[in-house]
């Protein structure tokens, strides 16, 4: 589904990603872990098409299409979803209106006719239940005055509505208490299927107690320096990142 090949990316002339290689197949969950500043969020942003980052080398294909040339909205329409680490507050635009526009723009891209108001509302109500999202939040301005937990839940709710093929969760666990974490994880798990894939970007192992990954990758200094099964996450939790850093330094 997703092939990342020797991906280099920089911001303001500073190289952050220094040759990422990763393959994600349908049905898989990949966790990307690593110390602060290793490039985890950059990778998530580059995949979603954030324009501040310049891709200097490498390529990324999604379902056989080169996505690096695509606008962020086209990537979304192709089925890529980024749950933001810091969801943006947008005064004056209600969550429901925002999502309706998004759903219908994506449907347009795919050559489908727009959903009518009744169909849309029915679908949205079902998805809201999935993440215990209160109806009243839907009518409020997008993320405006939402608590940290409500914002993250809103991300997962949006994901549930848009049903992406590839979901990238960027530090979705940060700032969540254990109950919110469980709700968010349940939302993610309920969307797992053999046609979809998930990339979980996280600093800590605790989210991975709820969203069990098939693979764990450690990102350090802009490269994936170690990959392994889910047990690798436990090892990192127990031993921290220093031993990885030491291994890398020893090799180089």
């Amino acid at each position: 589904m997703l092939y990342i090949n020797d991906l280099h990316a920089s911001i303001e002339g500073k190289e952050i990603l220094k040759g990422i290689n990763l393959e994600v197949k349908a049905g898989e969950v990949h966790a990307i872990m690593g110390p602060n500043g290793s490039g985890k969020s950059t990778l998530a942003s580059v995949l979603a098409g954030r324009e501040e980052y310049e891709v200097t080398a490498g390529n990324v294909t999604f379902d056989g299409k080169n996505i690096l040339e695509m606008a962020p909205e086209d990537r979304a329409a192709e089925g890529i979803f980024l749950a933001f680490q810091y969801p943006v507050e947008i005064p004056g635009v209600t969550t429901i209106n925002f999502l309706k526009t998004a759903v219908n723009e994506i449907r347009k891209y795919r050559g489908q006719s727009p959903l009518d108001a009744a169909q849309f509302l029915k679908m949205v109500r079902e998805k809201a239940k999935l993440v215990s999202m209160n109806d009243s939040l839907l009518k409020r301005a997008l993320n405006e005055g939402f608590s940290g937990g409500e914002k993250k839940r809103n991300e997962i709710f949006q994901m549930a509505v848009l049903e992406p093929k590839l979901a990238i969760l960027d530090e979705t666990d940060s700032g969540l208490d254990i109950d919110a974490l469980r709700i968010v994880a349940e939302g993610v798990n309920s969307l797992r299927s053999s046609e979809r894939a998930t990339i979980v970007v996280t600093h800590y192992q605790r989210l991975l107690d709820y969203i069990i990954p098939d693979f764990v990758h450690v990102l350090y200094k802009g490269r994936i320096v170690k990959s392994g099964p889910k047990e690798l996450a436990f090892e990192l939790e127990e031993k921290g990142y220093d031993w990885i850093k030491a291994e890398v330094e020893a090799v180089s």
């Binding site: 979603a48 098409g49 954030r50 324009e51 606008a71 962020p72 909205e73 990537r75 979304a76 329409a77 979803f81 980024l82 933001f84 969801p87 943006v88 947008i90 005064p91 004056g92 635009v93 209106n97 925002f98 999502l99 526009t101 998004a102 759903v103 723009e105 994506i106 891209y109 301005a141 949006q158 848009l162």
Partner: protein, 439 residues
């Protein structure tokens, strides 16, 4: 001063004397004496230049470099206005074409027990002393050349009188159409709106243009808000690329009255709006909302005044603008709190989105406070569209233009939602949505 500017001024003054010479006895009336005094004031002031502090960012050079026919004959029928109409609801619709009342196009639905509406000359014919008691009693304090010019040439306009304790159920929509299909035209409507004690009314002024020659509108509206009265006043400008508009709305509020103003400038070559509110009573509430969308090389200038003269009143102001291309915007908001006006609350905010590096916005809040127990605040922001919000929306599949439109629409929403005449608000929502997605 260029030769042309002398020309327009001289022409106007000559025109005034020509009219005066055929007036017979009426020239000695109090009404005419006010006009004569105003002409003298205009003569003395002349058209303002950018050296005048009130006109620092707004040059009228281009406006006064052309000539305008102030007495142009037109034959405008309803069919000509088809495209300019705001979808009807139950409203009193009064048309003025090139500044003159068009009875044939107008439609009244409110009963005469609720409200008196007539053209200014008609009202004057019926009851000169009533008209005189209002005419130029508010605007005269202005030392503004255009107001003086309007007063000197005041011939037509609307006279509205709402008696005490009346609530006018249907809004009044005044439609000013400049017919510039054949030539440059000028008009100087003069409106008087007198709202009695505990009376309530909603009034809108809408300005449109036919044709593509130049039009120059110099309008003055005087609004008297009685004790415990409530007035909602909206001004909607959707004029042509060759329309020049200067308008002054002068308001006086008495005890416990409420006044809402909404000023929306959708289109026009050059626009200057003065909205001057005197809070001349205790426990008054004045609200001012404004919205403007200049593009191309359009110029929009809003000058507002909240003059607090008595204690315990409140004024609240929010103006917003979206500027594109090489357009220019000006906002100047004055708040006066006079020594007697203790416990005044006065708030002012002006927010702008500048979408092009060549567009400019000049904002100037001006607070002059002479009382010590008051709450005043002001703030202005001028920025670009929030890129982070844009990326967030795009990452959900919303195209860049659509995301821009949604963000800009949201930016305008808190002003548009303040407009309480449904048909006008819905009209504006439609026009604004179209304007925001068309570029």
């Amino acid at each position: 001063m260029s030769i042309e500017t002398i020309d327009l001024k001289t022409r106007l003054i000559t025109d005034f004397h020509a009219r005066e010479s055929v007036m017979n006895g009426e020239a000695s009336s109090e009404f005419h004496q006010k006009k004569r005094a105003a002409l003298a004031q205009f003569d003395r002031l002349g058209f303002p230049t950018i050296r005048n502090e009130e006109w620092k960012y707004t040059s009228v050079k281009d406006l006064i470099s052309a000539s305008y026919n102030f007495n142009a004959d037109t034959t405008v029928g309803l069919s000509d206005l088809e495209d300019l109409r705001i979808p009807e609801q139950d409203a009193n619709i009064i048309y003025f074409v090139n500044g003159h009342y068009a009875a044939g196009l107008s439609k009244m639905v409110s009963p005469e027990t609720e409200i008196t509406i007539s053209s200014l000359p008609e009202a004057y014919k019926k009851n000169p002393s009533l008209v005189n008691s209002y005419f130029n009693e508010l605007a005269k304090e202005e030392v503004d050349a255009f107001t003086a010019l309007n007063t000197a040439f005041a011939q037509d306009g609307i006279f509205i009188h709402v008696p005490d304790n009346q609530t006018v159920t249907h809004p009044i929509v005044l439609r000013f159409v400049s017919d510039a299909r054949e030539q440059n035209v000028g008009s100087q409507p003069r409106n008087i709106i007198a709202v009695g004690r505990n009376a309530h009314v909603k009034i809108a002024e809408a300005f449109r243009t036919l044709g593509s020659a130049r039009s120059f509108t110099n309008v003055v509206t005087e609004i008297y808000v009685g004790v415990e009265a409530g007035v909602e006043y909206y001004k909607v400008q959707n004029e042509s690329e060759n329309a020049y508009h200067i308008g002054t709305t002068q308001v006086r509020m008495l005890d416990r009255s409420q006044f809402y103003a909404g000023t929306v400038t959708l289109n026009g070559r050059f626009t200057r709006n003065n909205l001057n509110i005197i809070l001349d009573g205790e426990r008054c509430e004045a609200h001012m909302y404004g919205l403007y969308f200049p593009d191309g090389t359009q110029h929009v200038d809003n000058h507002t005044v909240a003059d607090h003269r008595k204690p315990n009143s409140e004024s609240n102001e929010l103006y917003k603008g979206i500027l594109r291309d090489r357009s220019k915007g000006v906002f100047n908001g004055k708040i006066f709190v006079r020594p007697d006006a203790q416990k005044t609350n006065a708030f002012q905010s002006c927010k702008n989105i500048v979408l092009s590096p060549e567009a400019t916005m000049n904002t100037k809040p001006q607070l002059e406070i002479f009382a010590d127990d008051v709450k005043c605040s002001h703030g202005t922001t001028t920025g670009q569209i929030d890129e982070e919000a844009l990326f967030y929306m795009r990452s959900r599949g919303i195209s860049r233009p659509e995301a821009m439109a949604l963000l800009m629409y949201a930016f305008c929403a808190d002003v548009v939602s303040q407009i309480k005449i449904d048909s006008i608000r819905e009209y504006l929502e439609g026009v604004i949505a179209q304007k925001l997605t068309s570029k």
